[in-house]
């Protein structure tokens, strides 16, 4: 097992692909573990990328501090990992909780990156997200890891995905139940208790940034990604069709292709950021379509920008509407 030593803690990581760059580093969501990136390691390695996935402190096979886990430590570990086994140019991709760590890393150590991919993530806790987070934490405390999994699974993936696996859900959940420990998940969730919004610092992210948001993600909806799009200078928002919060689990081939294409565009100098908004193709290899001009990408129905503007007042702090 490959480990990185951070102080007295061991951090488990997995490495695939060639010895030399470019490197793509993948950062887990809250209840994820490194093995869930297996399809990405093989797909991206085939494209010539060096791929690093790892378990954050408190997750999977990494050490689990008993009482406190600081997000600063997670960022520091990421820095040590990239310094130790990353080969430039380095692209960093994080989902949900891991997206926060990736955003913080890009703010503090952006010079070490060639590009950033923020997936299903946020820069500040909206009231909805705060309340959902509290409910999930209480669910964990009252019902254990299995109950948390039961709450998260239907939020994370589509009916179509679930429908094909209804008789396998126990087997799907079991590895996560075995590898995660309740107190460590609780510590990870409580690392948000003193969370300060990242929005004021998003402008410091100087690298090309692709923001991926599932079309139907109601855990971290479009408005939260809009804050990222409007504040990160060289960003573009890419909407993943029919995607939910964990589209990385449900659509790994498409997402791996989007990551590889992003890195390729950045390295080839053809990355178009500028706050642009795109629709990803339904499958890998398809064409990204620019979001139709004049329509409001924050709405679930095809409304023209400026119509029913009362909705704009409900956007979270920092979100600017409409898009260009």
């Amino acid at each position: 097992m490959d480990t990185l030593q951070h102080g007295r803690y061991s951090v488990h990581y997995e490495l695939a692909g060639p010895d030399h760059g470019p490197t793509i580093v993948l950062v887990n969501g809250l209840t994820q573990y490194s093995a869930l990136w297996t399809p990405y390691r093989s797909a991206l390695a085939e494209h010539g990328y060096r791929v690093i996935s790892f378990d954050l402190l408190g997750q999977g096979q990494s050490d689990k501090p008993s009482l406190f886990i600081e997000q600063d430590d997670q960022v520091a570990i990421l820095r040590e990992l990239i310094d130790a086994i990353g080969r430039p140019p380095v692209f960093l991709a994080g989902i949900s909780f891991g997206g926060i760590i990736a955003l913080r890393y890009a703010i503090e150590h952006g010079a070490t990156l060639a590009g950033l991919v923020a997936m299903s993530t946020f820069a500040e806790l909206s009231p909805q997200l705060q309340l959902i987070g509290n409910a999930l934490r209480n669910g964990l405390i009252l019902g254990g890891i299995e109950y948390l999994q039961d709450l998260l699974l239907p939020m994370n993936v589509s009916d179509a995905w679930l429908n094909d696996r209804l008789d396998q859900l126990d087997e799907i959940k079991r590895p996560g139940w075995l590898v995660n420990d309740l107190y460590a998940l609780q510590n990870l969730m409580e690392s948000f208790l003193d969370f300060q919004p990242l929005t004021p610092r998003l402008g410091e992210i100087g690298v090309p940034t692709m923001i991926l948001n599932g079309e139907f993600d109601f855990l971290t909806p479009r408005s939260l990604h809009e804050t990222l799009r409007t504040h990160i200078p060289h960003s573009a928002l890419v909407i993943v069709p029919r995607g939910y919060h964990a589209f990385t689990l449900e659509q790994p081939r498409l997402t791996a292709w989007l990551l590889a294409r992003f890195a390729q565009d950045v390295l080839g100098g053809s990355w178009e950021g500028g706050g642009s908004i795109w629709l990803a193709p339904a499958q890998e290899g398809g064409t990204l379509i620019r979001f139709p001009s004049g329509f409001d990408h924050l709405r679930a129905v095809p409304m023209r920008t400026g119509q029913h503007s009362a909705g704009a007042k409900r956007a979270p702090t920092g979100a600017k509407r409409p898009h260009k």
Binding site: P65, S66, L67, F68, I141, L142, G143, L178, L182, Y183
Partner: protein
């Protein structure tokens, strides 16, 4: 070496020898936690934390008794001579341990909380059950119940150990918790190895 209890008998139950060894360990540890808590509840340090924490610790004392009676009733016991050696070893390990740099009265309260926190989080009895275990078997149900209740049971300890009022003592508290975690994990792994089950310690 296996990673779960078993092989199960024809009716899907865990062998009596494994039930005896696992239940003995858990009864020894939860009994010790009850004794440690009983002592800690009179500690002066509890006046520094909100009253709700004291109420929670009091509730936990009762829950520890619940674990003991649950296991006593649900386990299929059989004679196990190894317990003559193991039980004194475990009981010695559970004795109160002072926390460096903190007075004895407060120290015992921290140690009781650290031990209880480690017991309910580092020890996960339900993950030992193979998927084929009969869900209606009393022993299997008891292990699941202990693990499930652990998440709730441990909250008063967490609130106590993480209390902002005790922030200045945080390094010593963290050290005590890590020590109890390591101790319990090691002894749990050793006990399981003795019945043919390998887990990471």
């Amino acid at each position: 070496m296996r990673t779960t209890l078993g092989p199960l008998d024809a009716s899907g139950r865990v062998p009596a020898q494994q039930q005896t060894r696992v239940a003995s360990f858990l009864i020894s540890a939860h009994g010790a936690e009850a004794r440690l808590l009983a002592g800690a509840l009179s500690s002066s340090v509890l006046t520094l934390v909100p009253g709700v924490v004291q109420v929670g610790l009091q509730t936990q004392l009762c829950r520890e008794a619940e674990v003991l009676t649950l296991l006593q009733g649900a386990t299929r016991w059989q004679p196990d001579p190894m317990l003559l050696w193991l039980l004194p070893r475990w009981e010695l390990a559970w004795l109160p341990q002072p926390v460096a740099g903190i007075g004895i009265d407060q120290s015992l309260a921290f140690d009781a909380a650290a031990f209880g926190f480690a017991l309910h989080t580092a020890i996960r009895p339900a993950v030992l059950l193979p998927r084929e275990a009969t869900p209606t078997d009393g022993f299997a149900a008891a292990l699941r119940q202990i693990e499930l209740e652990g998440s709730r049971t441990v909250q008063p300890q967490l609130r106590f150990l993480k209390s902002p009022a005790l922030a200045a003592l945080r390094p010593a508290i963290s050290q005590a918790v890590e020590r109890r975690h390591a101790q319990l994990r090691t002894l749990w792994a050793e006990m399981l190895a003795g019945i043919g089950i390998a887990i990471a310690s």
